[in-house]
């Protein structure tokens, strides 16, 4: 799966979890929390939606790897292999 597709998957989940967030200009390297005012409840939901939709388990110690879009793409890439 391409990086752009993974990026879109993450953005789609964020738009569900935080529908008021402005996703038109998200920068890849800046922590999502800073750009989008996401809190711990939102992060829990991102993790839960990844599990629900793609059966990806993100253990608590890996939560920091979801900090920015770039780190999400790097972390989720291998796990999303096999999804169309």
């Amino acid at each position: 799966m391409g990086e752009q597709r993974i990026r879109q998957i993450v953005l789609d989940i964020i738009s569900l979890v935080a529908p008021d967030a402005d996703l038109s200009n998200v920068r890849d390297e800046v922590p999502l929390r800073e750009q989008l005012e996401l809190d711990s409840m939102d992060f829990l939901d991102i993790v839960m939606e990844l599990r629900k939709r793609y059966r990806i388990e993100v253990p608590k110690e890996d939560y920091p790897k979801l900090a920015s879009l770039a780190s999400c793409v790097a972390y989720l890439g291998p796990q999303l292999q096999g999804h169309a």
């Binding site: 005012e37 409840m41 939901d45 839960m48």
Partner: protein, 462 residues
């Protein structure tokens, strides 16, 4: 565990919210509701072809679209509900009326500050500082220190009447305890009323309940109406199964109860002793609903909600008789924005009442007491809306007994027991309390409670 079977007792706001969260993330959830209509304390019934709302006066925590990091947008996103589905209409303004003094407030706190500046010289900066203190206070923590709201108010405001007036709406909309309020609950409710604001779903509470039930079912949740939980089978510190009033037995891995803490404990098969009366909530209400042939504004009642008190001291206690009409809350649905075209006028007036005076009455006495107190409460309301009683098309009264009958709350206690279980835990590993007795009250509070408890005890853990 994806295959966990969850039973939720009660399809009130907190049960539906917990149900939506758990079903959305793959749990098998069954909500069991005794009543035929969901909603719990905030519900409705039909009378003479009209839908009568109970519970909901106004939804607190209203913020305009675009304001993030507030409880309302948070709960909508947690429940995956679009804001439009609730069709919330903000209030125009509300009033706190004490002898010789009225303060208005709206969804812009500056109106309150401006009225305080006019009526209480020197107090407005103190009230601003109190507001900053409340806004900075972290009311979401599980481990908050106990504290007295009255004491904090005394520290900030040097005018006792102003402190009483501020307490009045806050206690009516969020306090389960007599006389004083836990500071954390004061902070939550103060923010929800004054820093955020009041609104009403255009079609009343049915709109809210309908949206939640639809969302819950779409997430795969099951809802059983007209059947209550008769017993929780307890062995070895866990609930092993649930027996319904219909006789059916269901296995379960987890139980969430919004029936109230003591009410739930009484369902446990290993409990023999009923709770001590001292631990139960005592604050109940009557509410008169009057349907008018014209809007309440025609009688001078143009505020969305009026919180009144006939003395300089605001007592907030269980009355020493059936009803205390010296203080209360009057709500006019017509006085919210976009409600101009409601076909009829509605005045809902609420006053504190004592359950024991209503509980033991025979049918005839009960009917007579209802007529008498509906009359007496209307007389009190007439001082705010002279002449309205000649334009009443229909009226009805619900009492502490009605609350007990439809919600199962002991003593008809509107806001449950005075002592809250902030983390929702009970002595049983897999039984959690959400809703009123967890500590958050009101519609938004109950929804947040259901979300919070589902997240804390199930979703964040798995």
């Amino acid at each position: 565990m994806v295959d966990e079977q969850v039973v939720i007792i009660g399809a009130g706001m907190s049960g539906l919210a917990a149900g939506i969260r758990l079903a959305h993330f793959g749990k098998h959830v069954l909500i069991v509701e005794k009543h035929r209509i969901p909603g719990g304390l905030n519900s409705y019934y039909w009378r003479n072809g009209r839908r009568m709302d109970v519970g909901l006066h106004a939804v607190t925590n209203y913020v305009p679209v675009g304001r993030k990091q507030a409880p309302l947008p948070k709960l909508l996103s947690q429940l995956r509900l679009a804001r439009e589905e609730l069709d919330l209409c903000p209030q125009r303004w509300s009033e706190i009326r004490f002898p010789g003094c009225t303060l208005r407030f709206s969804n812009d706190i500056e109106l309150l500050f401006s009225d305080v500046r006019d009526r209480f010289p020197g107090q407005v900066d103190r009230l601003r500082r109190l507001t900053q203190h409340v806004e900075a206070f972290d009311d979401k923590r599980l481990d908050v220190e106990p504290g007295s709201a009255r004491q904090v108010l005394r520290e900030y405001l040097s005018e006792p009447l102003l402190a009483e007036m501020i307490l009045c709406p806050v206690m009516y909309y969020g306090c389960a305890r007599e006389h004083d309020m836990e500071f954390v609950h004061f902070a939550t409710t103060y923010k929800s009323i004054f820093c955020e604001g009041l609104a009403r779903p255009r079609d009343g509470v049915q709109r809210f309940i309908g949206a939640l039930v639809k969302r819950y079912k779409a997430a795969g949740g099951q809802l059983r109406l007209g059947d209550g939980v008769a017993r929780l089978d307890v062995h070895g510190g866990r609930v092993r199964g649930v027996r319904l009033e219909s006789g059916e037995e269901l296995p379960c891995d987890l139980v969430f109860s919004c029936a109230g803490y003591y009410e739930t404990m009484r369902l446990c098969s290993d409990v023999k002793e009923p709770p001590a009366a001292a631990d139960l909530g005592r604050l109940s209400v009557i509410e008169a609903i009057s349907i008018l042939d014209r809007p309440p504004a025609d009688f001078g009642l143009d505020a969305a909600v009026v919180f009144f008190n006939d003395a300089e001291q605001f007592p907030y206690a269980c009355p020493s008789g059936p009803v205390e009409t010296g203080s209360g809350v009057i709500c006019c649905p017509n006085n919210f924005e976009r409600h101009e075209d409601l076909p009829e006028g509605v005045i809902r007036s609420t006053a504190l009442a004592r359950y024991e005076d209503w509980a033991g009455l025979g049918d005839e006495e009960y009917a007579r007491a209802k007529r008498e107190w509906c009359e007496r409460l209307s007389t009190r309301v007439e001082s705010f809306a002279p002449g309205f009683r000649e334009h009443v098309l229909d009226s009805d009264l619900f009492t502490p007994r009605t609350i007990h009958r439809f919600t199962g709350r002991l003593n008809g206690a509107l806001y449950g027991a005075p002592q809250k279980l902030r983390d929702g835990r009970t002595r049983l590993d897999n039984l959690f309390i959400c809703g009123t007795d967890q500590g958050l009250v009101g519609i938004v509070g109950a929804l947040l409670s259901g979300i919070w408890m589902a997240n804390l005890h199930v979703l964040a853990r798995s």
